[in-house]
Amino acid sequence: SQTIHQWPATLVQPVGSPLSLECTVEGTSNPNLYWYRQAAGRGLQLLFYSVGIGQISSEVPQNLSASRPQDRQFILSSKKLLLSDSGFYLCAWSETNTGELFFGEGSRLTVL
């Protein structure tokens, strides 16, 4: 069966520091991969999605970037964090045809 792992679960970082959140999927090949951000425990904002290695689409201009160095690995990064980057970040994957997403457990980022 397929599983998705996301880490770290919790992160507290100072303003201006770098960020790296990692997500890996097991049990499937060539998944679509996604990063969402959830602010204030409500709405989900799609940040990036990827349909293959090295293929990244950005939905919202921002201080963040994403990379997909391997088929089942998706990384969210920032060179310098802003206060507004605080939030709950969710990684997800889907199979190509159904579009149904499967989510990781999330990473809560607090920027101080």
């Binding site: 996301q6 679509n32 996604y34 425990g41 409500r42 709405g43 989900l44 799609l46 999605y49 349909v51 939905e59 709950f88 969710l90 997800a92 889907s94 190509t96 159904t98 579009g99 149904e100 997403l101 499967f102 989510f103 990781g104 457990e105 999330g106 809560r108």
Partner: protein, 114 residues
């Protein structure tokens, strides 16, 4: 562009009573529709989906949803609510021929009282 509306920020229901969480959508073509549930500080869990076929879709934990094309709605229902159903519920839509990404509603908090 596709969009989803969840008109209620919160729904309150007594345990044992039926519940409905509302969702309406807008797409230019045929929709794929989904419901997810989120418990505090957790990721989203898939409940059910409508792709094609019967308008009444049954999902996990006794939930079901009815697709209504004329009203562009996909309301989530359960005949008898449990206290453990209390959570945040998200409706999502993807266009049938669109890019592989879902657009989510703003979420509805369901509170089931004992």
């Amino acid at each position: 562009a596709q969009s989803v509306a969840q008109p209620e920020d919160q729904v309150n229901v007594a345990e044992g009573n039926p519940l409905t969480v509302k969702c309406t959508y807008s797409v230019s073509g045929n929709p794929y529709l989904f419901w997810y549930v989120q418990y505090p500080n957790r990721g989203l869990q898939f409940l059910l989906k409508y792709i094609t076929g019967d308008n009444l879709v049954k999902g996990s934990y006794g939930f079901e949803a009815e697709f209504n094309k004329s009203q562009t709605s996909f309301h989530l229902k359960k005949p008898s609510a449990l206290v453990s159903d209390s959570a945040l519920y998200f409706c999502a839509v993807r266009e049938y021929t669109g890019l592989q990404k879902l657009v989510f509603g703003t979420g509805t908090r369901l509170l089931v009282s004992p």
